[in-house]
């Protein structure tokens, strides 16, 4: 096979080519435009952190004034894991959900953010243990994501390596090049901190797809290993990159962070305060004005989106693995984009027979593959009913990893622990199988199955 042609900046580099995948082209891409919009309300959402005790200990009260960086709640089971407020302002409500779990701690932001000063230690002389204690104390620890299982690491956890993907191939995704612009110093400082936390390497996944080279902040970062990737979505997913850089062994733990989380970590040391800045992509065909917004983590969805069509589904994250939200809900901790697409509650006449209405599809029964860059609006119609697994090669092209996804999913269904572990369940999280779920002819809920399997494996370990 002839390797695909590379953009000039990646020529001569060692590039990992990923076969398969699919770029889902939807209308309503954010472009590069920065929108001038301020969000007033922010929230921390304890239930989105996996593996925490359902009701955390909230140490602020409704009506209380908090500063940015002030601890708001901590995990009852692991009281050392603390969570800090992204903004300064007044705690206006603590919303509870099923079984009295705390869903949202809502803070109305001040116009001028009042930061709690943090006295950052000197990185040249600090020991790993005291660095960990410092991160736990400031509330920075939850920035770190541990694989397998996508959880906040325990304080004793030592990762084999740390991985950061510097590009995003998900549909309509936020471009980290924009986020890192002007934050080079903080990004480098964040990487320096991470290097102290692992005995292994910090790996950076770089994009070899686009016409424009990755930002200099990524290319000139020091002390880390660079890996170039060429391929369609999900090539930008950190899970795919881990698999091709240094795959996860059965007992291994690795940490992952997003670019914006690394910057946030770095700013504790460069600025001495908790700067929870997020550049958020506003995208989707139901949004009236798409673009980027500079805001804070946990911003309100409705305020971020501005005007949207009445019959739209609002999603924190991308359309494949994001979470459905209402206007009064908030951006998830890890997410850097909100999407709004039309709800697809309609009947299609003989939809299976004729390509009467073109739509996003990877199936070769549609002529879509002749127009690979055609953009579609994309709606939430399911386009069919759930069936048993029939097609066995649907997923082959959708997951560029050495994993038999179909059989892995079947092993989850039949509770086969050895199969789940052996076939590589722990190497995956929801975002990695989302594309296969999108493609599935039988409309099987792969992400739900995956999490079911991961929960089963995790229960065994505890």
């Amino acid at each position: 096979m002839v390797p695909p042609s590379l953009p000039s900046y990646a020529k001569g580099k060692k590039v990992i080519f990923l076969k398969g995948g699919h770029d889902l082209w939807l209308t309503g891409a954010p472009q590069g435009k920065l929108l001038d919009r301020t969000v007033k309300t922010y929230a921390l959402q304890p239930t989105e952190f996996r593996g925490m005790f359902p009701i955390p200990k909230v140490i602020v009260e409704v009506g209380e004034q908090v500063k940015a960086g002030q601890i708001v709640f901590y995990d009852r089971e692991h009281p050392e894991v603390k969570f800090a407020s992204p903004v300064s302002g007044e705690v206006i409500s603590i919303n509870r959900g099923a079984k009295r779990s705390i869903v949202e701690i809502v803070i109305a932001s001040d116009n001028q953010i009042d930061y709690l000063p943090i006295k950052a230690p000197d990185l040249t002389s600090i020991s790993r243990a005291s660095l960990v204690d410092f991160l736990l104390e400031t509330g920075a620890w939850p920035l770190i994501n541990e694989r397998p299982y996508d959880i906040i690491p325990s304080k004793d956890s030592v990762p084999r390596d740390i991985f950061i993907s510097t590009f995003n191939t998900a549909p309509l995704a936020c471009d980290p090049n924009i986020a890192v612009n002007g934050n080079g110093e903080a990004f480098q400082k964040g990487l320096d901190v991470l290097q102290l936390l692992t005995p292994g390497e910090v790996h950076l996944g770089l994009n070899a797809n686009d016409k424009v080279a990755p930002a200099d902040e990524f290319l000139q970062s020091k002390g880390v290993k660079h890996h170039w990737f060429h391929g369609k979505h999900p090539a930008g997913n950190v899970g795919i990159q881990i698999h091709h850089i240094a795959p996860l062994g059965l007992k291994d733990k690795v940490w992952t962070l997003t670019v914006q989380q690394v910057i946030q970590l770095g700013k504790i040391f460069t600025e001495g305060r908790w700067v929870a800045d997020r550049v958020v992509a506003i995208s989707g065909s139901s949004v009236h004005e798409t673009g980027y917004i500079r805001t804070k983590s946990g911003a309100n969805i409705g305020e971020l989106l501005g005007a949207v069509d009445a019959d739209a589904r609002l999603i924190s994250g991308d359309v494949l693995s994001g979470t459905q939200k209402l206007k009064r809900n908030f951006l998830n901790w890890k997410h850097e984009m909100v999407t709004a697409i039309p709800e697809g509650k309609y009947n299609e006449f003989f939809g299976w027979l004729i390509p009467s209405v073109a739509g996003p599809s990877d199936s070769k029964t549609y002529a879509n593959y002749l127009f690979p860059h055609k953009q579609f609006d994309g709606d939430t119609n399911k386009h069919g009913e759930k069936r048993a697994f029939v097609m066995t090669h649907d997923y082959d092209e959708m997951l560029p990893m050495d994993i038999h996804l179909l059989h892995l999913m079947k092993s989850v269904i039949v509770n086969d622990y050895d199969g789940m572990e052996g076939l590589g369940l722990k190497e995956l999280t929801e975002e990695d199988v989302a594309l296969a779920e999108w493609r599935c002819t039988s409309k099987q809920p792969l992400q739900q199955l995956l999490r079911r399997g991961l929960n089963m494996l995790r229960e065994q370990e505890i």
Binding site: L250, K251, K382, G384, M391, G422, L423, T441, Q447
Partner: protein, 418 residues
């Protein structure tokens, strides 16, 4: 949307009339893709669904159908020594073919879909599309004169014991269409093997035997053709001297390729002007179907290519060995006879019963090719090998997957130790 509101109006109550609702649901979803939205997972979904996949397979079979229908008539009149030209008596040949295939098609679907509907209602899930393809395949692999009661018994056996007992569409171990055929093959062997069964409408295949026509030809087509001043079905016909109903395979088995060539030309074999099962005869039509399945990626190219390679290689090795007349048939001519191409294209590629891993698919395809040729060439009891070869490999497909998955697991465990 008048039809949609009509459907909404006639929807039976699911609690009170569950069986009616199942049937309603089956028909309604045929006309309209339901207005379900994606919940709890991806927010957009690919436009593909199982109905479209199954329909594409049926579409790929249409060409084999059209040719097969004509060929039923052509073989019949050839035996009578009439309308020997390809274009002669076109309407009679098609009419005769339709009169033969339509009852088979209707019975297949009434019986098969009936069972499918019943089990969908019993289990309380929607009607699944599996029988769309099975029902289209069964008439293509039958002799045109198959007694309908035998067909009924065989379909009941195959669908109930072969599919529903295992949990329905997507769960079966063996290909349902082949299971139907293998049931007839072993339970009523005279109706599906031997030289006499492949030409329809004759009392037997010997010279002087009489032709007979059913009520469809006599009372529907004949008056119609009379009105149009076209030729009608003859009231009496006799099989001409020197005719034998022998299929190329039985000729080759007994007398080698020369014996085949004394009855048929290679172009007749290639284009399908030979006696045989309805769908298997015309190679160009099968190749069109194969291309449709390959371009749409519905069939696995690994299985098809593996099957072709396996069959060609085995036939070539048997050429080298070459002790019986059948072994000496040049390896490429093995594809001109019997159902090799049809079976590899439409039967082996059934994704449910085939192996599911990439490596498994290669081995599965190659072994089907191997066993198909071995049974055809070396076993005097069975004139053709593909049905048995595929059912045999259906049985072993899970083992192939197991081997492939174990190697993946071992690789991962090894990594853990390092």
């Amino acid at each position: 949307m008048g039809l949609l509101s009509f459907f909404n109006k006639i929807e039976p109550d699911k609690e009170k009339h569950p069986f009616l609702h199942t049937i309603y649901d089956g028909i309604y979803t045929l006309f309209y893709v339901p207005d379900h939205t994606a919940q709890g997972g991806t927010h957009v979904k690919d436009k593909i669904d199982l109905k479209r996949v199954m329909f594409t397979v049926v579409l790929s079979l249409v060409f084999a159908y059209i040719f097969g229908i004509w060929n039923i008539g052509h073989q019949h009149f050839k035996a009578l020594g009439k309308y020997l030209g390809v274009l002669d008596g076109l309407h009679l040949k098609f009419a005769f073919g339709i009169a033969k295939i339509l009852p088979i098609f209707i019975v297949t679907h009434i019986v098969g879909l009936g069972i499918e509907f019943y089990y969908a209602y019993k289990r309380g899930h929607g009607i699944e599309e599996g029988f769309l393809v099975t029902g289209a395949l069964i008439p293509l692999i039958m002799p045109p004169d198959i007694p309908l009661w035998i067909l009924t018994v065989a379909i009941v056996f195959a669908v109930v014991l072969g599919k529903e007992a295992f949990g329905g569409t997507g769960m079966n171990v063996w290909n349902i269409a082949l299971l139907t055929r293998v049931f007839i093959f072993f339970a009523y062997p005279t109706t599906i093997s031997g030289d006499e069964v492949w030409i329809a409408g004759l009392t037997n295949a010997k010279a002087g035997a009489a032709a007979h026509y059913g009520w469809i030809e006599q009372y529907i087509f004949n008056p119609l053709f009379q009105m149009l001043h076209w030729d009608t079905f003859p009231s009496a016909g006799q099989v001409v001297d020197g005719f034998s109903g022998a299929t190329p395979l039985s000729l080759a088995f007994n007398g080698g390729w020369d014996s085949v060539m004394s009855h048929f030309s290679t172009s007749e074999l290639w284009f399908g002007l030979i006696p045989g099962s309805v769908g298997e005869v015309s190679k160009p039509m099968i190749i069109i179907g194969m291309l449709i399945l390959l371009i749409t990626r519905i069939a696995s190219w690994r299985i098809i290519l593996g099957g072709l390679i396996g069959a060609a290689l085995t036939a070539f090795l048997l050429n080298v060995w070459g002790t019986t007349p059948m072994m000496q048939v040049p390896w490429y001519y093995q594809f001109y006879m019997g159902s090799a191409l049809f079976a590899i294209t439409f039967m082996a590629t059934d994704p449910v019963t085939a192996a599911g891993t990439k490596w498994g698919k290669w081995v599965y395809g190659i072994l089907i090719g191997f066993f198909g040729i071995i049974i055809r060439v070396l076993n005097p009891a069975y004139p053709e090998g593909w049905m048995l070869a595929i059912l045999f490999m259906n049985t072993f497909a899970p083992l192939l997957d197991y081997i492939s998955l174990q190697s993946n697991i071992k690789k991962r465990l090894k990594r853990a130790k390092v």
